[in-house]
Amino acid sequence: MPIDVNAAVISNRRLSEDYNVLSLAAPGIGEHTRPGQFVMVKAGSMIDSILRRPFSVFEVLRDDGRVTGISILNKRAGRNTRALYALEVGARVACLGPLGVPFTTDLPPERQAIMVAGGVGLAPFATLAEALAASGTDTTLVYGARSARELFYLDFFERLGVRLVLATEDGSRGSRGRVTVPLEQQLAQLAHPDGVMVYACGPEPMLEAVARLAARYAQPSQVSVERVMGCGLGGCYSCVIPVGHDHDAHYVRACVAGPVFSGADIVWEKC
């Protein structure tokens, strides 16, 4: 059951010129968040911008085991994300959640996990990596960004025992180019007979490419989509995405039927 918290900013870590991690005092949300779920967030008044914005929960914050809040990974793009980048400690942010369908994490014991992140699409993978580590799943993060300066939290994932495969557009770290190239190498040399579960979050063309690659190697995928979202609760019918088959695709709401979908269910050519 989602709750709305007028959450205080506990900290605002600016990771780069464009990215920041905003920690919010919303323990009631953090306690119930599962990997892949999201919150609807709004800073400031309704005069200029009336709608909240969806963010994957990045971290569930704990102090001595007690849940103290959540964080979100923000990238400056428009007016709202610029406001979220600029917030100071103590400012208030309206935060509604947790919302949406989470990733499936109860994999068969022999199945490996490959998480594929593009840019700010890293967001849902911190909590997913924790859940997979807790269940002892062998996990790889294939992570792409514009440059080495925009690859974040690598030590966090390493501490959890996650194998890192990196790619940057400018070649400053890892392979040069898109994440799908190293992903295909991973899929081509799969050791485990039970195969993998591919998880992806990032720009929609990347999600499509990842879902198609996974399908080509006969592996299942789960993608976390981002759509223009109005309410996050299923009321406005804005965030729809076509699912089904080519001939009978129909629109479902990404906020309540997703944001996590099986990559095979989305009709990408109609997106």
Binding site: M46, I50, V228, G235
Partner: protein, 310 residues
């Protein structure tokens, strides 16, 4: 303190109604709001058949408002009465069903199906959706069309009927009169204002349908004016809406002549708006010694202002 209001034969416990198109089928919100605590729940517009709606992007934020062209994606009236209505009834919601049609016969048929089922409190006639090619606003932009749809539905139902008027006309009061003369129990207004927004970098329209309906606080003063015009033109109740964010906004609509109000866009940003508006309304009534909320309807003070000598 008496918050009850009457819309035709229908009595609502409070004047605050969830606006159609902004509250799904109501059940989406049952985790965050007790549906029986609302004056009414106006569910998403229903045609006879299911509809896919427009391709995304379907909304764009604009200053103090938003543009939408959802295209009335919906499950159709038959699935509604099977899958949603029993649950709404069970939750104690006073369900106002917003009905749509591309022809007069379709409006009448949807109304007939709904009238055969228990749990429908009233029918709101969608003759004002600006985002669909056939039906809707085609009727609502003509006085004859408005009267025809109202009469066609009147013939098949005893439920209170509430034509929802479009603001995309020159003289909205004449449409309220046309609805009243054709047998409407109330009118609701305003639906959204036909509008457009363009992304200058990509040179593309911000929503796939090119044109959409503008809602939110940006339209409120125009909506208040139109409610006041209709209140002065008809005897049936007027249900006002357009950018209500808080209790003061709701009270503004009531003073302009609304018997009840609907809240739409604000619910997207704040799904907990309902109790805030209700509490604020009660507080106002206490402060101003108002016993019955209906005592506020249309009570603008138009006596000359006292001259202030500095």
């Amino acid at each position: 303190m008496d918050l009850r209001v009457r819309i035709g034969s229908l009595e609502l416990p409070t004047p605050i109604i969830a606006a159609s198109g902004c509250f799904g089928y109501g059940l989406e919100y049952e985790d965050v709001v007790d549906l029986s605590s609302l004056g009414g729940v106006a569910v998403k517009g229903l045609f006879l058949e299911e509809r896919e709606g427009h391709p995304p992007p379907r909304i764009a934020e604009t200053p103090a408002g938003m543009l939408n062209a959802i295209g009335l994606q919906g499950i159709g009236v038959h699935r509604f009465v099977r899958e949603k209505l029993p649950l709404l009834r069970d939750r104690g919601a006073r369900t106002i069903v917003n009905i749509c049609g591309t022809t007069l016969d379709e409006y009448a048929e949807v109304a007939r199906v709904l009238s055969d089922h228990e749990g429908v409190a009233a029918l709101e006639l969608n003759i004002s959706c600006p985002n669909i090619k056939a039906g809707g606003i085609q009727f609502g932009c003509s006085l004859i069309g408005t009267a025809d749809v109202t009469r066609a539905v009147r013939k098949v139902t005893r439920l209170p009927i509430i034509p929802k008027l479009t603001p995309n006309v020159t003289d909205v009061a004449s449409f309220a009169r046309a609805a009243e003369e054709a047998g409407a129990d109330a009118v609701s207004l305003v639906n959204t204002f036909l509008a457009m927004a363009i992304d200058v970098e990509s040179r593309r329209p911000k929503i796939s349908n090119m044109l959409g309906g503008l809602s939110g606080p940006a339209i409120r003063p125009i909506a208040v004016r139109m409610v006041w015009e209709c209140f002065n033109a008809v005897k049936i109740p007027v249900i006002g809406m357009g950018g209500i964010v808080d209790a003061a906004d709701a009270l503004e609509f009531m003073l302009a002549g609304s018997t009840a109000v609907q809240i739409g866009t604000t619910n997207f940003a704040d799904p907990f708006v309902w109790s805030k508006v209700l509490d604020g309304m009660k507080d106002y009534m206490r402060r101003h010694g108002v016993a019955r909320v209906t005592d506020l309807v249309g009570q603008i003070d138009t006596t000359p202002r006292k001259e202030v000598h500095a």
